[in-house]
Structure formats: C-alpha cells, structure tokens
C-alpha cells in the first residue's frame, strides 16, 4: 500500500539532537539502538579501519529483513562533512522511535533500511581530538606528495587557538590580495584587472621538509570518497594505491554488493543531486535492458574471441540515463518540498566519489546531498558569501582575525595567521541539527514510500474445453520508482525479475515457458503473460526479484 505522504506530518517529532557527536558517542548510540529495539534493529561492525575504528551498519526492518527491498543511508562520506553522520544516525533513531506509528509500521513491513552512520571515521574524528582541521583522509600512512617520505609535513597551530586556518606573508612577489568585497578574505591577484599581489597565502603551519610546500603531507591517508571505482583517478590526490584499496570502501562495497535487495542509496556528503538534479545527455547508449550482462563466461572458458582487429567501442555511461533523470527530478522536488531548502549547494565533482559509484557501478538509484548549505550568488566568491551569511544568521566567531605571528620560514617578513574557522562552511550550527534531522527523516521516509511494488491485475482464466485452459495475467508496477534503475538493467550486480509458473501434479504446461524473465517495469507500467495449460488443478504463479519483492498467486483451473 502506498502511504500518503501527508500522514507523516503529524507523526514526526522534532529531533532533540543539538551537538555533534564524536566516534565513541556515535558508537554508543548505535549499539544502544540495537539493544533498545532488538526485534527491529541489529548492528554489525564490518571492519576496523587503520585508525582502529569500526564501520558500523544498522539493519532496520521486520521479518526477513535481508529479503525485502531496501534503502541504504550513509553518513561520513567525507570526513569534514560532520552533519551527515548526525543526519544518518538521526534518521535511524527517528525511524525506530516512530516504529509504533501505523504508517511507519506499514513501511517497515515492506522496506528494510541499512544505515551506515560514518564510512570515514578516521578522518571525521579529527574535529573532536586536539587540533581542529578539516581532515578527509584515513589513518593509512601514505606519501601524499610523492616525495618518498610519508607524513613528514603536517599542520602546525602557529597562533595557539586550537584550529588550523591560514597564514599570509607580506611579500612584493606575492600572488594574493585582499578581496574588494571583504578585506578579510584573500583572493588571487587578477592581472587582467591590473591587480598586483602583495601576499603569499598558505595553510597554517611550517614547511617541515623545506620543499616549498606547506602541510602537504600530514598524518594519513587516503580519502575514502576518492577511492571508489567510478572515474577513479590513478595516482590521484589521496586516492589510494588502487580503487577500493581501503578497508572502509571495500567493506561498504562488499556489504552493498552482497545485499541484492538494496534498490536505492541516500548519502550525506559533498556530492549533490537533490538540491540540483542531474541532467541526462542527449545521446542515449544503446542496449537492450535485460539481455546485457547475461551469460558471460558461459561454462566453456573458450571465451577469448579473436578475430580481425576492430574499432574500439567505448561503452562507458557518463551521464544519468533518461528514465532515471525523471525519477531524480521527482525526488529532488520532493526534497525541496519537505526540507524547505532553497537553491542548491555548489556542485563538487570529484573522481572516485560514492554518489557516482552507487549509480554507475552499483547500478542503483543513487541520491546524495550535504543536507545543509548557504546561498552563493553566481560568480561571487564563496568565502565572502559565507561571511555575509554568517553575519545574517548570527553564527558567532566565524572569522579568526588576522594577527601577526612569528614564522620560522619567514624570519624577515611580516606573517599573520587568520581566516575562516574550519568546518563551519560545510556544517550547520549544532543547534540546528535537530531540525535538519527531522526534515531529512521525513524526506527519506517519503522517498521510501515511492518504492516499486508489483501486483497481479487482469487475471483471466478461460476454459477452452477438453481440459484445456488459457490463463492471462498482467504484472503491474504500482509504485513510482521503476523496478530497477535504468543504470541497473545492464549491471551484473542486480537481479532480473522472473515469473515462475508451477502447475500442479497432473497439469502440463503446453505453451509458454515455466520460467520467464520479466523486463524492467517503469512506475505504473505493466507486462502481460499468457499460458496454455492442460489438466485441472491449482497453478502457483510467482513474479518478482529480491530488490522489488516477489508476489504470488494461485489460479484454480476447474
């Protein structure tokens, strides 16, 4: 039964969350949810990171949870987007608190949720321990700047305020100037405007290895959100030795691949397709929906086809497909409607990111958003825009004023430390977390309500005499989502729907296959089947797949 979306309005309570929780607090809460709701919720630690932290996943649902269509919700996609962790775990908390509500009960009887509070716990913990800087890399020691030494040039807190901002060095050879729009912000001097630089700007720290670069190789690491296989950048910045090299990414991918019942992912991180939905390209790739990806390596092992050299064909899909574009737009509209968010965050392209992987390589409906952003007018400097936003919204102490310091690398030059505080451009004030969690909880449950759902309709039995029966029936998808994303139809890691006809003893199937594949069904569309059967009895018919559910019916032929 498709749930009415209005029904949620009265049910949602505003979450009470008003602080950012560290790893221990998140873990404790995660484990306590499983204890508090043992029938609905179980927790598993998938792997320990190099920094000794767990990647947790909560399974929330009823009955045979892993056999029901499911949505995965993930936080901690990048270590400096802390709000995502609260949104993910907060979703789980709200869902369980609300589980007595008849609409949620109904939802949980059809849909399972897998919640990963944080897939980058090594990096996100930096905010809570000692020196605060925006860290995106895990605890695997790597040679980030390829100088054949690892972790030799970290940040240093030169002005003793416990956070890392910037330093600016007065120097006639410098390439930066103060912005005309806000003198606190440093921008590159624009020669075309006749500007001459008078500062060098670096992140706060010293050049430990005297290579001219500052703080380019600190403790850690690989950024898990650069380590997924889609558009993975070989030798990229913090991308790892190879795609899926990290325990975090491998554990998450293994879990997702093993759970064929998952049909959609919702991630909280820098990539966004909810504020601003994605656009399909004009040219659509040609492939038939469910014949692709079948029967490769067929038994024989004589797979290597040799022949005349042929023109290489590039089969890679690089833009959202048309049918999925429609769903993305629908969901984005719903997101704006429920959360009240205006506009969209600035697009953040990054090689090897999770959102793209979940769509192009995992073949599911993939949604992602930071969950919170501030408005930036087109063409304007985002830091300047942030400071004016911070002032309007009374975010205190957003900027550390430029103050002179002594810097060992610039003994004869005036050096000042200052800049926008870390984390606050990507993360909302803690006292708004409760509200955001509630809104995103509403959104995800509304998204879940759009799930595909099969039903048999127009079932007809015709008795042709002489013990001969014709049966026709239709399989109808009465949900909004298709039975699989269009990108999933060519993906080896999604299942194809099947219809199975089981005649009773004494009945024979005269025409039509016992097992037949059902092609992908858009929301609202139908596939028709007919069979010819001889003999009286009960014919058992089932249709579906693990990611959409299986429906059954019995036809009495008498």
């Amino acid at each position: 039964m498709i749930l009415s979306l209005a029904a949620f309005a009265y049910a949602t309570q505003i979450s009470a969350q008003n602080k950012y929780r560290n790893f221990t607090e998140l873990s404790r809460k995660t484990e306590s949810l499983a204890k508090e709701y043992p029938a609905l919720c179980s927790v598993k630690s998938l792997v320990k990171t190099a920094g000794g932290k767990d990647i947790f996943v909560l399974t929330i649902g009823t009955g045979e949870k892993d056999q029901k269509p499911a949505i995965a919700v993930l936080g901690g996609i990048e270590g400096n987007y802390l709000a995502g962790r609260e949104l993910a775990l907060g979703f789980a908390e709200n869902l369980l608190k609300d589980s007595g509500n008849p609409d949620i009960k109904q939802l949980l009887s059809s849909i399972t949720f897998y919640v990963f509070p944080d897939i980058s716990p090594d990096a996100s913990e930096q905010y809570f321990t000692g020196l605060k800087y925006e860290r995106v890399i895990n605890s695997r020691s790597t040679d980030d700047d390829r100088d054949f030494v690892s972790d030799e040039d970290p940040y240093e807190d030169l002005n003793g305020d416990g956070i890392i901002t910037l330093i600016r060095v007065s120097d006639p050879a410098g390439t930066f100037i103060e912005s005309d729009d806000d003198r606190r912000i440093m921008v590159a001097a624009d020669l075309s405007k006749g500007q001459k630089g008078s500062y060098f700007v670096y992140s706060e720290g010293i050049d430990n290895d005297k290579d001219g670069k500052f703080n380019e190789d600190g403790p850690g690491g690989v950024n898990p959100n650069r380590n997924f296989t889609c558009n993975y950048e070989e030798y990229g910045q913090n991308s790892g030795y190879h795609a899926m090299s990290e325990p975090e990414t491998k554990a998450v991918a293994d879990f997702l691949f093993d759970h064929f019942n998952i049909y959609s992912t919702v991630a909280f991180g820098p990539q966004d397709n909810l504020g601003q939905p994605l656009k399909a390209s004009e040219k659509q790739p040609e492939f038939t929906s469910f014949e692709q990806g079948m029967g490769r390596g067929v038994g024989m092992g004589m797979g290597m086809t040799r022949g005349a050299p042929r023109e290489p064909v590039d089969r890679r899909i690089t833009a959202i497909l048309k049918k999925d574009e429609i769903i993305n737009k629908l969901v984005s509209d719903k997101y704006h409607e429920i959360t009240g968010a205006k506009g969209a965050p600035s697009a953040v392209q990054a090689p090897g990111n999770f959102m793209d992987w979940a769509y192009y390589h995992y073949g599911r409906y993939s949604f992602s958003t930071p969950g919170w952003w501030y408005p930036v007018e087109k063409g304007k400097n985002s830091e300047v825009a942030f400071l004016s936003f911070a002032e309007k919204n009374r975010i205190p102490d957003a900027f550390v004023p430029w103050t002179e310091i002594k810097h060992p690398d610039f003994p004869s030059k005036k050096t000042e430390a200052g800049g926008i505080k870390p984390f606050i451009m990507n993360n909302p004030p803690a006292d708004t977390l409760g509200y955001l969690i509630s809104k995103h909880y509403e959104f995800i449950t509304a998204l879940a309500a759009m799930h595909p759902e099969l039903e048999f309709i127009d079932t007809k039995i015709e008795n042709r005499g002489d013990n001969l029966f014709s049966i026709t029936l239709k399989v109808h998808n009465r949900g909004i989502f298709a039975t699989a994303a269009e990108a999933g139809s060519i993906n080896q890691w999604t299942k194809i729907m099947r219809m199975v006809i089981e005649p009773a003893k004494g009945q024979t199937l005269l025409s039509g296959q016992k097992i037949q594949r059902i092609q992908r069904l858009e929301g609202g569309s139908t596939a028709e089947f007919s069979r010819l059967i001889s003999g009286k009895g009960s014919v058992l018919i089932s249709a579906g797949a693990i990611n959409v559910g299986t429906i059954k019916t019995t036809l009495e032929l008498k």
Binding site: R146, D147, F148, K210, T229, Y232, E233, E234, Y235, Y241, H242, A243, M244, S245, K250, A253, D254, F257, F260, F287, Q292, G293, M294, G295, R296, G297, V298, G299, M300, G301, M302, G303, M304, T305, R306, P309, R310, P312, V313, R315, R316, I317, Y360, H361, I490, N491, Q492, W493, T494, K495, I496, R498, Q513, K514, I515, Q516, R517, A545, I546
Partner: protein, 573 residues
C-alpha cells in the same frame, strides 16, 4: 716383503679407481647437446602438463637442489585455499635478490591456458641447470633476480586436470545470469569422459553432414542439399529449467579483468567483478609486486594465438605514459622476440587485439614496469606453415588420432539419443606433448633476453681534481649498459619510484651537482642533502655524470642505488 707390498698397492690403486671407472661409464649414457643440460640435478621432462602437485614437487626439488640460487615460498592462497607458489631465483652469493633488477613471470591466470605454467617451470629449471655450465646464465643470475609464479590460478588448473573443462576464471561462485541462483547451470559431462565435447543429433532439419572423406569432420551442406545432422553446442542441458543451457556454470568472471589500473565494471569490460582485486589470487600477486619494487619488467603467459602482446590495452593508454624512448625499447625487444619465437607476432593490445580494461599488463606498467604478455600456441606450429592449419591432418599424422574423441552415442535428458565427440581439451589451444619443450625453450629465451636488457649500472671514470683552499672536486660517471632505463616514462611522470641515489663516501661533502652537459661543463646543484645525489633516470645505453665538492679525504667511494636498476659502486684510484 717388498714384492708383496707392491702387489697390494697396485690392488689398492685399482680399488680406488674402480668406482671412478663405473661412474664414468654411467655418465657416458648422455652426451651434452648444445644449449641443454645433459645431466640435470633435477630430472624433468617437458612433454606433459604438470598438475598442481607436479608444480609443487618440481619447485621443491629445485629449491632443495639449488639452495644457493632458489627460494620457494607461498605468496597467498587461492579462493579454494590452494597455495600460490613463487620461486625467487638469483645468485645469492653475489647479492640480495631485492637489490637487483627483478623480472616477474607468471602463468595460467586463465584456467584452460595451462601451458604458461610449463613455460615458467622450464625457465626456472633451465636457469638453475645451466648456471654452472654456462657463462651467460651465470652472469645473468649474478646481475638479476627472477620471480617466477608458475600458476596464479591453481583452482582452475585443478579443475582442468581432474574434472572437465573449467571456466576461464577461478572458481568463486557467481550468479552470471542474474536470476538469483548461483552456478546452477554449467556444462554437463553427459558421457563421463572428463571432456566437454560437441553434441550432434540426427535430424531431418539438420544443415550438417559427416564429411565423406573424414568421419571425424562435420561439414555444412550446400543450399540445395539435405543435411542429416544438427550441431547442438557443447555438452550440457538446461539444469534450471529457464530455457537457457550452460548459462551459469562455476566461476564466470575473468581474472585478467581484475587489476587495479584503468578498471571498468562488467557492462564495459566483460569479465570484471565487483572492483579491482576482487580475488585472492590477484591480491597475492599485487601484494608481492608492491613489496618488491625492484621488479622492472615482466611476462604473463596466456594462450593462444602466437602473439607477443604489448600495451597500451586501451586506446590512448588511459593514465599511462609511453614515451618515444620507451616505445623504441618495447618495439626492439618485441621484434627480437619474433625472431626467437617464429610464428609469434608483436601486437599492441588495444589496436591489434581488442580493448582490455583492468588487465594485468596495464597494472604492471602502472607500477613502472616494462611488460609483455605472450599468447602461447599458434596453428602455424603444426606444420610450420601458415597456409596449412588443418587440425584433423595434424592429429592423424602426428598424434595418431590421440586428440580426437570419436563420435559416440549418448542419452541427453531433453533431446533423447544424441552423439558426442570432437577434439579433446588438450588440442586447439594447448601444445601437444612433443611441442611443449621447444616452445618452452623459445619463450624462456625471450624472458632471458628481456631480463638481460633490464638495467645494469656501473660506476666508472671517477676523477679527483684538487681545488683552491684544500678542496677537491670528485666526478664520476654512472653508466647503464642495457636497453631498459631505470625509470619508465610512467615512473617519472607519476613519481612511482624514488630517483636513483648516488652517494659519495670518503670526505665531507660541501656541494653536489648533476652534470647536465659534460662538454659545456654545465651543472645543476642539488641544494638539499648533496651527499645523496638524486638522478631522475639513467636511460638505456647511456651515462649520467655527477660531481661533488669535497673537503678532506683522499680515497673516495661512489655508490649508486636504483630501485629498478640495481646497485653498483666504484673507488677512486
């Protein structure tokens, strides 16, 4: 008294020489042919395929018999828990294996491509057996290290040698037809002969008939002729009742689409699995190669087609860089390979074969190596004649019908009475017994040549010049006497390995510099840490020049350490 003593001493002498006489009589059973060991320490014959047990046995024997050359280890386990063996072969007395340029060889990544294992085993055996007898091999093992992994898919190999025809991949179960069942419909050995042969059925609708000149052959009938047979494909039936036959057998991925370089998922690259290094066998190779950055060049054996394959594997090469100089070296070595292995052609994968995403060759290249992959066996080898590739004639004249399974009746669960027959799995892509050793020697020779051309560094022309103020200027040349540079273009572009380090010992170093132009005497000073000069690359068959300003000392030692180029040192006079 004297007489008696004399007689006994003569008898004593006879007794002493008797064993020698009988020993030399047995020694004379064999006379050494050119280029082969006459009395190998490890007996091995090369007209058969080795099972996994045979591989382990031969490797152990080599390690036991030649402890000063060979170390045997397990680098990991396969999906089904079998050992993946690796032999490290070098002259241990002249240096540590990891400090010499390393040559990697592996075979049998694809289950039915068995003979790669025989090629690698022969190479290992030959190097060991010829070390004492042959100057070239002796010098080679003093300068270089071989890392030889006879099979990196022992599960597939086991299936081939003990069961029927394996999938191309290893044996991790996969739902190839995406129906929710795993490995439910593979081939079926209907007549229990451990082969998967062709099926034919007598049929009024058939378009095939038995060749009147050779009952083994099936030929298509003319359009106006009526055939009496239909070919039904490979042995099997529809195990899961879904209307398809043999669509989901054991395994079903491709181990050579699993490597972490230019990797793409299955819909782009057939055979790819979840992500790169999804499989333990390849993970084992990855970890070993990563921990042995001295590996500078490699060979991975496949079948078939008679090819010496080089990269790039995708158009444009993706992230790889091939410089003009690298290309010249690759072409030169590859074309020499065509001479060494007649019938084999040097081909570029994406251009002359097909695009491969996530292949082992590209990954090795991405680690800074020079890589080839040979596709073993070509029908040219049957009659050394590219115009005669008639397998039936070859089987009759040279194998005496040994490779053909005569058509025989069998019962098929769906079709009823059918006939099964065809060539055995050991002919078509695999060398017949009598041709294994020849091709093994030729492919080993290609590996040896390839390994020989890995860098060989020499420190020479150390000169000491007196300067004012009691300082000295010490200059030296570092020569690379072989074709391969110490750093490939990829290696330089992506800073995969450190530069070659050149150290000076014997005085206090005040300044160090690279001599960019010897004739013009142009130098670039290295400001940081001049006692350890950083040379980006020493190209093939060329020299680089270094210089220091030193205080004190009289005798100086110059030492070069290159990750992929090995080490060398020299002393001033």
């Amino acid at each position: 008294m004297m007489k008696k003593y004399k007689f006994s001493s003569a008898a004593l002498l006879l007794l002493l020489f008797l064993p020698a006489i009988s020993w030399s009589q047995s020694y004379q059973m064999f006379y050494k042919a050119a280029g082969s060991p006459a009395n190998p320490g490890v007996q091995a014959s090369w007209n058969k395929y080795y099972t996994n047990q045979g591989v382990a046995d031969l490797c152990s024997k080599l390690a036991k018999t030649y402890p000063d050359l060979v170390t045997m280890e397990t680098i990991g386990k396969s999906f089904q828990g079998r050992d993946i063996y690796l032999l490290t072969i070098t002259d241990k007395k002249t240096g540590i294996h990891s400090q010499k340029p390393g040559f990697w060889i592996d075979g049998n990544i694809h289950s039915i491509e068995l003979q790669g294992t025989e090629m690698t085993l022969y190479t290992a055996w030959y190097l060991c057996e010829m070390f004492d007898e042959n100057d070239f091999i002796r010098k080679l093992l003093a300068e270089k290290t071989f890392y030889i992994a006879p099979t990196i898919n022992p599960d597939g190999r086991e299936y081939f040698t003990s069961s029927t025809v394996p999938p191309r991949s290893g044996l991790a179960p996969r739902d190839n037809d995406r129906d929710g069942l795993v490995d439910e419909d593979g081939t079926d050995d209907l007549n229990g002969d451990k082969e998967i042969s062709l099926m034919r059925i007598k049929s009024q609708r058939g378009n095939m008939k038995i060749d009147p000149s050779d009952p083994r052959k099936m030929i298509r009938v003319a359009p106006d002729e009526k055939g009496d047979y239909e070919l039904l494909g490979y042995e099997g039936f529809d195990n899961d009742g879904d209307g398809l036959i043999n669509e989901d057998g054991p395994g079903g991925y491709d181990g050579n689409r699993d490597w972490g370089f230019n990797w793409e998922p299955n819909y782009v690259q057939n055979g790819a699995d979840k992500y790169p290094f999804s499989f333990p066998e390849n993970q084992a190779v990855r970890d070993f190669v990563k921990n042995h950055p001295n590996i500078a060049a490699s060979q991975s054996f496949h079948n078939s087609g008679g090819m010496i394959l080089r990269g790039p594997s995708i158009r444009g090469g993706g992230s790889e860089a091939y410089s003009r100089q690298d290309d010249d070296v690759i072409e030169r070595i590859g074309l020499t390979g065509e001479k060494i292995i007649p019938g084999y052609k040097l081909l570029t994968i994406w251009k002359d074969l097909y695009t491969v995403w996530g292949g082992e060759l590209d990954w090795m290249h991405g680690n800074g190596c020079f890589v080839y992959s040979n596709e073993l066996w070509t029908s040219y080898l049957m009659f050394y004649d590219s115009t005669n590739t008639d397998q039936y004639e070859f089987d009759r004249l040279l194998l005496f019908d040994d490779a053909f399974i005569p058509w025989q009746k069998a019962i098929h669960p769906q079709y009823g009475e059918i006939e099964i027959g065809g060539f055995k799995k050991t002919l078509g892509r695999l060398h017949p017994g009598f041709l294994i050793e020849t091709d093994a020697h030729r492919n080993a020779a290609f590996c040896i040549y390839n390994a020989y051309e890995m860098p060989l560094l020499e420190v020479k022309d150390i000169t000491v010049k007196n300067l004012d103020g009691g300082l000295k200027e010490v200059s030296a040349a570092i020569e690379n006497k072989r074709m391969l540079p110490t750093h490939s273009a990829s290696n330089l572009k992506y800073r995969i390995d450190p530069p070659d380090y050149v150290f000076l010992d014997g005085g206090t170093v005040l300044s160090g510099m690279i001599v960019d132009d010897v004739l013009q005497n142009r130098t670039t000073e290295q400001k940081k840490n001049p006692g350890r000069l950083e040379v980006n690359n020493i190209p093939g068959n060329s020299q680089v020049y270094v210089r220091w300003i030193v205080k004190g000392g009289s005798k100086f030692n110059v030492k070069v350490e290159s990750v992929k180029g090995g080490r060398a040192s020299g002393q001033s006079k």
